[in-house]
Symmetry: C2
Subunit: 409 residues, 2 copies
Amino acid sequence: MKRHKPRVVILGGGFGGLATAKALGDNADITVVDRHNYQTFLPLLYQVSTAGLAADHVAYPIRGALRSINGKFRMGSPISVDHKNKTVKLDSSEVLPFDHLVIAVGSVTADFGTPGVNEFALGMKSVHEALTIRAEVMRRFEDLCRFEDDTKLSIVVVGGGPTGVEMAGALAELVRGPLMNDQKHAALHIEVSLIEAGPRLLPSFSPKLSEKTKSALEKLGVKVLVNHAVESVMRDEIALKSGEKIPAEITIWAAGVKGEPVISKLSLPLDGNRLSVYPTLAVTNYPNIWGVGDICGSKASDGRFLPMVAPVAMQQGKFVAAQILRREKGEELKDFKYRDKGSMATIGRHKAVVEVKNIRFSGYPAWATWLFLHLFYLMGGRNRIGTIVDWCWNYFTFDRGNRHIMDSV
Amino acid sequence: MKRHKPRVVILGGGFGGLATAKALGDNADITVVDRHNYQTFLPLLYQVSTAGLAADHVAYPIRGALRSINGKFRMGSPISVDHKNKTVKLDSSEVLPFDHLVIAVGSVTADFGTPGVNEFALGMKSVHEALTIRAEVMRRFEDLCRFEDDTKLSIVVVGGGPTGVEMAGALAELVRGPLMNDQKHAALHIEVSLIEAGPRLLPSFSPKLSEKTKSALEKLGVKVLVNHAVESVMRDEIALKSGEKIPAEITIWAAGVKGEPVISKLSLPLDGNRLSVYPTLAVTNYPNIWGVGDICGSKASDGRFLPMVAPVAMQQGKFVAAQILRREKGEELKDFKYRDKGSMATIGRHKAVVEVKNIRFSGYPAWATWLFLHLFYLMGGRNRIGTIVDWCWNYFTFDRGNRHIMDSV
């Protein structure tokens, strides 16, 4: 007798959800649910914000990714799970039955309760937000071009992790390169700052690379402020906990992320704002529900949450696919172990930092490594080719062709 | 004594405005005004709507185009002209003095007073509108995928000119190719129709090519209705003047354009909704104000308005630049004559029609000609390369990589 394929519903079509789907392949009857019909390549969003990449190149149609495995797709968000009948209800009212439910809904910007972030700061978690930043920067630049006086524009990036560092570096290069060629007087009146609450940038890297990152950013003209915690964000300035105020016509919030709040609708045990899971990645007390990626509260051997980054999500996705097949075959489950392949952040042309266990390097070799790995992980041949084209163009012409303000009619 | 360069303000950064600026080059002190900071390559917008091209590839930063001629740019719209003091006031309150004013503000969708067009039909005149069509088509497709029943989706393109023909053909190919691969049942329930009020498609072409176009579209699965005039557009149907109603969950309005209404603020003589001009393209009674492109009411020798197409705008732009320099030198002005280099429309893969005076051809050679000319006229090397990449990808994979619904957060 032919065994029935398990029905697997995967909530979230990001790195984690799609890794799960692909690893399950033809061994399951798969439905992926996402509120967008495309996967967003989040690690390159900052390049959309800074006019380096076309928006369509950091997105990939989920249906395209699922074609080879005959997976189904539903555009929508979960609104509840019926744990007795093993179904998940979507906002379209559709009810999807499942044998296994994989939760890979990702994360959202965390404001840590800081007043004004929601109202006045720009986030960096979606294509829409990236285009908003691009439009806002370019529109303020156009405003500056009208006055040939001393009016200044302060762009402040909050958060000294890889996202904030990459954003600040790319902004500084946009200002010093293309905008300087567009209108010198205006470009000279734009200041890019990076604020970090802790004592150094890239706290997850070695102090030496932090120092290199800081000086590389400063060489690009970025004003780097460490030990500066933000008290509140206002329309055109930021109040620091020290009482000081700094001008900020544009505030970009890259200070952190937290589990996607939709999780609260699913009646599942939480650990902070992430799913409480066993080391097997099964949700505590729910043997057929699994956590993957940013939303999954799995911990390293030191008891700390794993970082909310794409490599963790991809490894967990693949792992959970294997766990589901193990459970279906009655085999024993394994415990998830994250193999940290290192971290990297790019700062600008020929400037990046890479740290792989005890190997650290920076400058040109780190930048080349970053380029290669990002192209390797970029889904879809068309996006890869399109990205190479945009990057080659930017590299050789020192220009950025996507300086369009497209957020309005 | 060195002669002072004339100050030329150009309203509109489209084909006409930028052609004027480039032809004036270093001989004038140029300021281009546009409400967008980019030029839109309108002839390819329908490919953005149908997921064939990335939105950023049909846009080109105006400042980039003006760099080589040291032209200035102001983002904004004109709100009035002070004819006594020769200044134009922008919505930013900035006042620009001019020796010559070139009006090249283009056109907008014309609804010919048809009720419901504004509320329920989608236009095809901006990147924003193109992305709205793309999102709407893809979202309705996602809706269809949820029901595996007989629910149908009718997409109706109104207007059988080149724009409507190209749109209908590209939609049919999107549905029959990528969407069929995404979800066959849903794709089979999508119907694309093209409605034309007159007796044949492409009325400006020869009847033979009209017939070829109709049969090529029908082969692609498009339902072509000629002699069907639209009475009104409703939320999910279209009422025809015959009293018949046809279902239309999505109505795309490609029935015509008219002069951009901003022109009414400039206190200038109009001819219908276009600028009244002399054969010299100087505005009637305003020797230092010039009309270029869609807004310019210049007429062919048969007394009819010239067509509102890019080649007219580009020829007029170049011509007006020369006229301005003639006037500055005290030389006699010339009369504008449009050299019609022919018309073309693409229907789909290997299918197009080309008509150059008495030479007419269709099929593969016409399609290759169309491709070549559009790449040739596409501004900016990066857009040209990016477009080649997107097109090659679509051509060889029969896929369309930009099926993203990006109009929402």
